[in-house]
Amino acid sequence: MKKIINQVENIVDEMLKGAVKAHPEDLKRVDGFNVLVRTNAPVKGRVALVSGGGSGHEPSHGGFVGMGMLSGAVAGEVFTSPTPDQVYEAIKAVDGGDGVLLVIKNYSGDIMNFEMAAELAEADGIKVGNVVVNDDVAVEDSLYTTGRRGIAGTVFVHKIAGAAAERGESLDEVVRIANKVNSNMRSMGMSLTPCTVPAAGKPGFEIPDDELEMGLGIHGEPGTHREKIKSANEIAKYLLEKILGDMPLEENTEVAVMVNGLGGTPLMEKYILNNAVYDYLNDKKLSIHKTMIGNYMTSLEMAGLSLTVLKLDDELKTLLNAPANTPAFKQF
């Protein structure tokens, strides 16, 4: 394992310290906790958004703390959901009296830890709502299982629900909009290489040079299957067939697209994939209103990417286009 770190056990703490030093005008840390909040938190008259999860997904989640997106972010150990006491501190630090929306990705651990934190906050009289993001079409949906994972589409929830909160909407309304985003988007990912969790010291899986892992999540866990490496055009087609197969869209529907890098894939390759995505959607007579391309929800140094398609209407479009000013996403 080769990484630019000091002691493995200090990774999260030192990362958060470095983030606050890089963005002192945007971020402050809640003393003694792995929680980043806006420098002006808590804000009165606005619903607050708290997101979080394991570390290793940077810039998620702390990078999206700022005007128009999150109010606070909780960082767990690498790929490990944060504990309830940490989430509870984040809720208390950002609540301005109008309630808090928890953005939770659909993993058993995240749900349990965030639910326990919500119970603690509600006992204090804080209003808490939540959205459980489950955008990953790689996983079969079923009432009898944990269901689909939350992956990069979570960033669309941060953006759009964050804009609704910034506009002064009520908690019920922010919850409704967050769930609307979730139900109108689908994602799917693939990877070329594994990643190494620092505390483990070795890669999460092994994969031959000429194969790719299809349908994996954002924690280096194995995907649905492996296949021989194929071209960017073929990868784009495969991912889009899965996504649109699950969420059929009528001609002339407006969509937003996110081409999300998992950490080790250069922008060049993301643009190449995006070129194929654009042509494919164009052929289907779908209109791309906005494209987000970059590293938003990563898996450490993994090479690979995920694709998210969000179906838009006027309400979602307005909120998606609203300004945001955070360390990792700015729009004016």
Partner: protein, 210 residues
């Protein structure tokens, strides 16, 4: 009868066992999860070890509560809230106790299982730690009800626990992160089931020593 001193000793031994087995737990998790179950459990039980050393333990309930709260605030993931719930439910059943007997232990196990089922919205047969907790507890209660000696009852319960882990290899995960793999989870034992075997072994030994 198990005394407070034996419980404290058992918790310290359990911490060592988890720390020693963390690599084995990581390896199991690498196959069907994200390779960190051992890392998370080790971090939690290292903290349990130091917290137990620095805490004046009043009674057996307090000992288990200390373990539960420490795991709750240090493990994270899915195993953190689940094991924290188990130990906090243990604590509820023996608040203020200086000793516990096998009957109390059965009540502790029942409360822990009910708590974990509620927290994890899960049940037996989903390829989780419950596939070890439940057969262990059922066997213990049956053997006890049939008037078997406690040494025999506990050793049969441990057999059931091991069988529960083996059973977890034969089923498809429907809860937790391994469920995303579908049929690819077949043939692999559940990491949480494996760590539960270690915990129940320590607790069984606690009574054997008494």
């Amino acid at each position: 009868m198990v005394t407070k001193a034996t419980v404290i000793n058992t918790i310290n031994n359990l911490s060592e066992v988890i720390i020693e087995n963390s690599e084995m737990l990581n390896d199991l998790d690498r196959a069907i999860g994200d390779a960190d179950h051992g890392i998370n459990m080790k971090r939690g039980f290292l903290k349990v070890k130091t917290t137990m050393e620095s805490t004046e333990i009043n009674d057996i309930g307090h000992a288990f509560k200390t373990v539960g709260m420490t795991l709750l605030t240090s493990v994270g993931g899915a195993s953190g809230p689940l094991y924290a719930t188990a130990f906090l439910k243990f604590a509820d059943q023996c608040k203020g106790n200086e000793t516990i007997d096998l009957g109390t232990f059965e009540n502790m196990l029942d409360a822990a299982i009910a708590g974990m089922m509620h927290r994890g919205k899960s049940d037996a047969g989903c390829k989780t730690m419950l596939d070890v907790w439940i057969p262990y507890t059922n066997t213990l209660k049956n053997e006890n009800a049939n008037g078997n000696t406690f040494v025999d009852a506990l050793s049969k319960s441990m057999v059931a626990a091991h069988e529960g882990f083996e059973y977890s290899k034969t089923i498809i995960a429907t809860k937790g992160r391994a469920s995303y793999l579908g049929e690819r989870s077949l043939g692999h034992g559940d990491p949480g089931a494996a760590s539960t075997v270690l915990i129940l072994k320590s607790l069984s030994d606690m009574f054997q020593e008494a």
